[in-house]
Amino acid sequence: MTAVISAAERLRQGNAVELDGVSKVHGSGRATVQALDGITLSVAQGEFVCVLGASGCGKSTLLDLLAGLEAPSSGTLRLGSATALMFQDSALFPWLTAARNVDLALKLRGVPRAQRPAKVAELLELVRLSDFADKRPHELSGGMRQRVALARALGQDAPILLMDEPFGALDAMTRDVLHTELERVWRITGRTIVFVTHNVREAVRLGDRVVLLTSRPGRVLAEFEVGLPRPRHLDDVEVATLAGAITERLRGEGHGHGRAG
């Protein structure tokens, strides 16, 4: 991870994340795939940024870079702090109860055993799952599993929370509820959130800012400030209008589908 400079002082004042001309190439030789091409992006501390793009636009690669799971091929990536990552599938450990899943996050970052139970209870309380602490993942609904996953990600206690299409597999009603919950948790915890999605309305519903990525290679196509007051709702006219404009913009780019890489 030579290209990652984790020193906060190198970041511009008030920024949590800065990417400067970051590119990522997967594979080697003939099988090379350019996943990201010259991404320049900054995220302010405490900001909620939604990264929007079609499947295969390198959104997940972007999160892998931010989470430190991979290193950029070129460009610089500066992080003001540690990151936590939440997956589309809850990725909970099926052999652990909800509470133990959250507990593991604390344990792995070295929280002393004596302090953990109270902290776990607090986190489950935050995602409103106190009554389900002793249930295993298979006994929980999809929405509940994502709440546990959120509690676990918060348990990592990293100021930057990365979310990889976390509500993509949920039904519309559950998703709606979780939008509200996430917004509440964001307000309470003051996290910086980078939220990846392919759902335009979801991005407008949640984000302070929406960053539009093209596909193959992933480039920043446009950024939209969402100046709408919170709380918002998916069906708000203003949300729908902005989502429509963004969709237009995406369509204008042909989504990058069918073009030679």
Binding site: A67, A84, F87, A91, L92, F93, W95, L108, H138
Partner: protein, 286 residues
């Protein structure tokens, strides 16, 4: 539920309590529900056996009737002979199986961890598994004479590969997403194994342990037929002597004993543990 009026008339009023049979209230009722199909199968086997005996296909001193054998079985249990022999055999299993588990687990771990080893011996392990354990005995007897060592050697060779393979397939099939989740949470090196890989591999490892037990038990009995040690009457020795003396009732009674031990250990030990592991993770139970 909004049912059409004409249908509603036929639907019984809000779920009347099902007619409770008094049996249901007894604590033993549930095991009975699970047991009766098995008992019927046993009865069926006994009936077919009796029919074959009556048909006169073989003389009765070669193929005795079920009742004769069961009487012999009861007698052998009562006079302690069968139990003593079972104890001898089980004591060998109690040494051989743990050694197999230790060897198989170590082997599986090493092969999973080091790519070179996998290339070198990965397919060999599967190969060993297909090798009938009885084929090892001539060599084992040359190496260890007619001794406990010869039996142990073959039991371990027969059973350890299953254990190793179970662990290996468990480790190979850890969902990549869980590995990523572990990494994101900060698990590294040994921590990854402890918190992600081993728990995720547990069901496959259990299957390997179970299969390993079956192989150990088979190898052990094969060994006891060939490696006969004086003054130690094991189940295998009883079989061998019964054949030499043409004592068919004792022979078959001993076989029933062997079968029972196998079933009991499989159901009580492995069945229970496996069911618990699977239920915990919400995996379908059979």
């Amino acid at each position: 539920m909004a049912a059409p009026a004409d249908l509603r008339d036929h639907t019984p009023a809000p779920l009347p309590a099902p007619p409770r049979s008094p049996l249901r209230l007894l604590p033993g009722a549930r095991p009975w529900a699970a047991a009766w199909p098995k008992l019927s199968a046993v009865v069926l086997v006994l009936v077919v056996w009796q029919l074959v005996v009556w048909s006169g296909w073989r003389p009765q001193f070669v193929l005795p009737a079920p009742l004769t054998v069961l009487r012999q079985f009861a007698e052998d249990v009562a006079n302690g002979e069968l139990l003593a022999a079972t104890a001898v055999t089980l004591r060998r299993a109690a040494v051989g199986y743990p050694v197999s588990v230790a060897v198989g687990t170590a082997l599986g771990l090493l092969v999973a961890r080091f790519r070179v080893l996998r290339t070198a011996v990965g397919s060999l392990i599967t190969g060993l598994q297909t090798m009938p354990s009885i084929a090892w005995f001539p060599l084992a007897i040359l190496l260890f004479k007619l001794s406990e060592g010869a039996i142990l050697f073959v039991v371990v060779l027969g059973s350890a590969p299953s254990v190793a393979n179970g662990l290996l397939s468990g480790i190979d099939h850890v969902p990549p997403l869980l590995l990523r989740a572990g990494q994101v949470l900060g698990a590294r090196g040994w921590g990854t194994y402890r918190h992600v890989v081993f728990p995720a591999a547990l069901p496959a490892y259990m299957a390997g342990l179970k299969q390993g037990w079956a192989f150990a038990w088979r190898s052990l009995l094969a060994g006891e037929l060939l490696v006969i040690i004086a003054n130690r009457e094991s189940l295998g020795v009883r079989l061998q002597f019964a054949r030499e003396l043409s004592n068919a009732p004792v022979l078959i009674a001993t076989m029933i004993g062997i079968l029972l031990v196998g079933i009991v250990i499989d159901a009580l030990v492995f069945g229970q543990v496996e069911r618990r592991i699977r239920a915990r993770r919400g995996l379908a139970s059979r």
